[in-house]
Amino acid sequence: MNRRVALQALLLLLVAGVFVAAFLNARANLEARNMPTSFAFLWQTAGFGMNQSVIPYTPLDSYGRALLAGALNTLIVSVVASALATLVGFAVGFSRLSSHWGLSRLAALYVETLRNIPLLLHLLFWYIVLLTPLPAPEHSLSLGGVLLNNRGLYFPFPGLGWPLFDPARNAFNVEGGLRLAPEAAAMILGLTFYTASYIAEILRAGVQAVPRGQIEAASALGLSAAQTRRLVVLPQALRVALPPLISQYLALTKNSSLAAFIGFADLMQVSGTILNQTGAALQTLGVDMALYLGLSMLTLALMRRFERGSEWGAR
């Protein structure tokens, strides 16, 4: 027994030792190359611009604030895409289970096509699809004060005023209003339709995991088909589907890091610029890892709460 404890302690010491050695080695090497070794750069002036941010950000703000703005962009896109992917995924999943032959085949086609295309292609596809047909700002499509062009969708918004293209004020872009940029729209569409193909399958697996006897018992009790689905099948299906569903939300958040390819200012894109400017590669990536981990833990905590609070989680 004592020997085992000693061995365990030795192993622990060894692992800790390797980490300490790696840390000291990294620091010594960084110092030898005159590279930054601290996190002080987070408080320095960032100097670069960002086209979309939910918090006020100017180039005069700090690197830390730039990272925060990027992380919030990641968060917003992930939350919106997760919600939409759940809606689309459930719709496709139920369609696939439907007794209507055409609908079911169509849903199967959706799943098999979309989940076999790399996400990067989804994003590039949506970006080009959005940009190509839309008109330039001077020929914006207009409907009830909402303007649409290849720079985005502009809504009237209290405090931001009505969107307007006025060549005298700005010869290039619409001014005013709340704007959804094509980069953000392409991110949301790409992530939604890609993740929905997985969610559809997860839902199908959950429904099919409900024993046939349950449905037969429900009809024997006189429940209608709709009542059976709502009261018997869905609660049991979701209990099976919830853990893999959570994995999909986590995967979606991490997948959003491909944003830099289509010009969306997410956490990774902002980090890329910071890394180029400061040379603090280890620190920047460390902050990124911590932020992604934080986002994942937050998602997990919320989902656990939901699982426990709902009747589906109870066994």
Binding site: F48, N51, Y127, N150, N170, A171, F261, I262, G263
Partner: protein
């Protein structure tokens, strides 16, 4: 076990020692003994260094390597090219793997003071520039007030842009992409009014557009990106040889010596031309070269103007104007010390 470790450590130490010695030896002697110059070049940048359809390297930076080979061997073909990524280029030079780095590399203080490198001079004056639609009729970057600008993520590209807007007090939207192709595509589809990256790359990317003639590179640049060939510190003779090959190319252009007339000009009565071509005194010996070293260079690759025109200028698809890269007499910045 301990013995094995000792052996490995010894072998490593020896290897390091030898590598150190190798790096310190006389580069010119090594090149002569090897029978070829080893030149570090770009993996592929149109106009600067790119293999053609028969696998033969062509470009502005390539011709600089060929000029040095011609000065040493009288044969511009005695060069081996090592394609290098931006990340590996300095290590390859520091370790002695290559003799010269000729790869659109920006001359900066930290690269000389901190990394043991020496830039022999500036052979191309580059800077961050803008591509925009001709129909917009922009006179200056300032006219992009309120516009959307696509940017390729670079070491300082986004910073230069934001600095410029801060300085001039105007605002514009920047859309940042990791890849140049994606940024160019977004610009072409109308998402942006302008696209910015280093001017040298911009001219090459312009040719990828479906209608290149509808787009122009604005004359104004935001940053100083002086390119030049690089050598290791600690070998002054080699440094001088490469530096004077560069100056000889410029002097030849200034004096009107071209690959076409270099043979006949050996009989010229102009004393400056006679000195340059080694008709009177021997100016090559001090560099470890022959008397007719400049004639050899010009015969093989032409003068600076010919190299520029063939690879980047009017004689190439890129059609880059001489601009800052013109001779000082023509309003450019190239000014080479005389051979005398």
């Amino acid at each position: 076990m301990v013995l094995v470790v000792k052996k490995i450590v010894l072998a490593l130490g020896l290897a390091l020692f030898l590598a150190g010695v190798g790096a310190r030896a006389d580069t010119l002697d090594q090149v002569r003994a090897r029978g070829a110059l080893v030149c570090g070049v770009n993996i592929g940048l149109a106009g600067f260094g790119l293999p053609d359809d028969r696998g033969s390297w062509r470009g502005f930076d390539i011709d600089y390597c060929r000029a040095v080979a011609a000065a040493i061997f009288g044969d511009a073909q005695k060069v081996r090219f090592t394609p290098l990524s931006g990340k590996d280029r300095f290590t390859a030079l520091q370790s002695g793997e290559i003799d010269i780095l000729s790869r659109n590399t920006t001359w900066t203080q930290s690269r000389e003071a901190g990394q043991g490198l020496l830039f022999v001079g500036i052979n191309y004056f580059d800077g961050q520039a803008f591509l925009a639609r001709k129909a917009r009729n922009l006179k200056s970057v300032r006219d992009l007030k309120g516009a959307s600008i696509c940017v390729q993520q670079g070491t300082t590209t986004e910073l230069n842009l934001a600095d410029y807007f801060r300085k001039t007090g105007i605002s514009a939207e920047t859309v940042v992409f990791t890849g140049g192709d994606e940024a160019l595509k977004a610009y072409e589809s109308g998402r942006c009014d302008a696209y910015t990256t280093d001017g040298s790359a911009l001219y090459a990317q312009r040719l990828k557009l479906s209608a290149p003639d509808d787009h122009e590179v604005l004359a104004e640049t935001l940053s100083k990106e002086p390119f030049g060939p690089v050598v290791r510190q600690g070998d002054d003779r080699w440094f001088n040889l490469v530096k004077w090959t560069h100056f000889a190319l410029l002097d030849a252009e200034e004096l009107g010596v071209t690959s076409a007339n270099v043979e006949s000009l050996r009989e010229s009565q102009n004393p400056e031309i006679r000195r340059l071509l080694g008709a009177d005194n021997d100016f090559g010996a001090g560099l470890g070269l022959s008397k007719d070293w400049v004639a050899r260079i010009v015969k093989a690759v032409g003068n600076y103007g010919e190299i520029f025109s063939r690879n980047l200028g009017e004689g190439s698809p890129l059609k880059i104007p001489r601009g800052l890269n013109a001779q000082w007499r023509d309003g450019g910045l190239h000014y080479a010390p005389p051979v005398r």
